[in-house]
Subunit: 389 residues, 2 copies
Amino acid sequence: MRAIGLMSGTSLDGIDAALVDINGSGLTTTAHLIDFVTVPLDDALKEQIKLACDPKQSTVPLICQLNVRLGHAFLGACRTLCEKAAVPVASIDFVASHGQTIWHAPATDPLNNSTLQIGEPSIIAYGLKTTVVADFRVMDMAAGGQGAPLVPFTEYILYQSQQKHRLLQNIGGIGNVTILPKAGELQDVWAFDTGPGNMIIDQLMLDLFKQPYDFSGQTAAKGKIIPKLQQALRNHPFLTLSPPKSTGREVFGKAFTQRLLAEYATEKAEDLIATATDFTAFSIADSYLKFILPAIGSSDIEVILSGGGAHNHTLLRMIAAYLPDGVTLQTQDDLGGSSDAKEAVAFAILGHETLQGHSNNAPTATGADRGVILGKIIPNPWSHTAYQI
Amino acid sequence: MRAIGLMSGTSLDGIDAALVDINGSGLTTTAHLIDFVTVPLDDALKEQIKLACDPKQSTVPLICQLNVRLGHAFLGACRTLCEKAAVPVASIDFVASHGQTIWHAPATDPLNNSTLQIGEPSIIAYGLKTTVVADFRVMDMAAGGQGAPLVPFTEYILYQSQQKHRLLQNIGGIGNVTILPKAGELQDVWAFDTGPGNMIIDQLMLDLFKQPYDFSGQTAAKGKIIPKLQQALRNHPFLTLSPPKSTGREVFGKAFTQRLLAEYATEKAEDLIATATDFTAFSIADSYLKFILPAIGSSDIEVILSGGGAHNHTLLRMIAAYLPDGVTLQTQDDLGGSSDAKEAVAFAILGHETLQGHSNNAPTATGADRGVILGKIIPNPWSHTAYQI
């Protein structure tokens, strides 16, 4: 089946649209990425989204209208993708759209456990004359979950192996890992944040070199480890916390980097980047050694790296050096996947499972009471497709 | 198929829930109303809805949370209905939910043509372990329509006749009529507002008798027509406008009644009620004589009355007196239907058509470019139902 997966993140980088051929279903699913595009959001739309996300400035007419405007933007991204890939719009069997999150407030009280994604899927369905699956997070929350993360399910579907334990390590701003034990079931999947990803490195590159990130890890490669800083970073309390655990900008963000720069002002810039890179590598490897290997053993382990950090060769070299021989490292790009398209592809697969009538959350990852079928199906309004209940 | 139809109107009177057995589909649809309940909204929820509808006070966290709280309220209404009707929840094949409109802004520009109904249907689906169809208006608007009125489609489905022209006259605050020509197709259906329904009568009853409405038309029956006022009312420009036309509180609301009371301050209260009732009756009959009968002829016409005004016997008598012999009058209650349950039943039927894969808007009523399948299908999250595209 040919699908388009759509994702628009809270960073407002643009609309990710992935054209994917999907075969099989459940554990036999294979997904072939045909093409991928990130369509930037125009400034007016970006401004409206920021207002809609603001508890003080958001209003009901704004949210109502933005739902429609984003629907048209998503439709436009699908058309752009088809044009780029030179495939006819009519060949798209369905679109799966995450939407734009404008509020996400998980809570243990069911009456308060809420999330809001907008970008009217009816507009996509009408414009492309196709079926759309959308609004995935609310059903997981109806089942008592946090509505996130949803990606561990598709990671399980795509990467579960009978021969190997697989660790899917994403290195975005924050590092997070999904553990797929060898020959495991969905309920054996677990996931947690390993610590900083590129967050500290990127902030230091900006402050010290006016660059957004350390291209390919070249700056870190030129520096030397600062032993005192290395030791101080390894004493960070997050590393000793047992999973499940999560972290973010409030722990390893700008304030953290500013304190670090103030204390180590006399050190060479390259050495600071090298030591920060070492810390990210160490925090990842240390998580494996402390929490994962004791649970699954230390052989037949394959780590698959994705996210921006997977392009940092110095970081990858450091991670490899910290890990025992039984652990092999690969990047998602090595495997023929695309780090950038990963989330959009994931939603295409989630939508495909919804259409198959398969439950497609990972309750051990979201905290839901049970597996449920996520999403709403918008029938192709130009067709006469019946739904047998 | 056994369905629950849910409607919660902007008047915030409560959640209407209708238990309906539906057989056939399309023009062969028959709907048998098993039970009906209106569950009042609690005060806190009512207050939150009012805030969410207010362009100045609404905020994204409020709307996000209210979506969840209303979802639970709708789920509760379904459970209350099943209990009242003594049917097991497990016997419900699907729920069709209109939701609570918090903003509706039809516009000719597609980027601005928007509406927002909330009350998370995933919560109903999870709680009842059933399929839900929801969010009907957005697809009609994606197709260029105004998202309203949606009821003419179900009126066509239920009342279209090969033997008779049928006029479905609703008498709420405003009067509106749907015309189903004998042996007509969906595209032959038309609808328009006839003028005031109970709006003037109710406001006068409140001002003159401190009562919310004229029970059974008893006050009007005691009064006499005031010829000067009768003539003045009949000169109202709305009566000469050609359909399609619509009116509302801004024309026949409180300000209109206040001007009337000021000018006719010396008249007897009963006489004012009688004359206002005569005006409603005349505006309905006059619409038929001016606009409908010239189009469909003056025989084999059956008028079916619904809404609060259908309980006003003086009004019904007056309407009958103004119409020629070829026109017969009945109330929806005479036919075994229920005026109060009408909209909730309509959404159950719309949801049923969605599940059958039938387009279920009436483009001649909403202005949509074409027929489309309205609504989003939320799969029963406890089942394994596949959707074949």
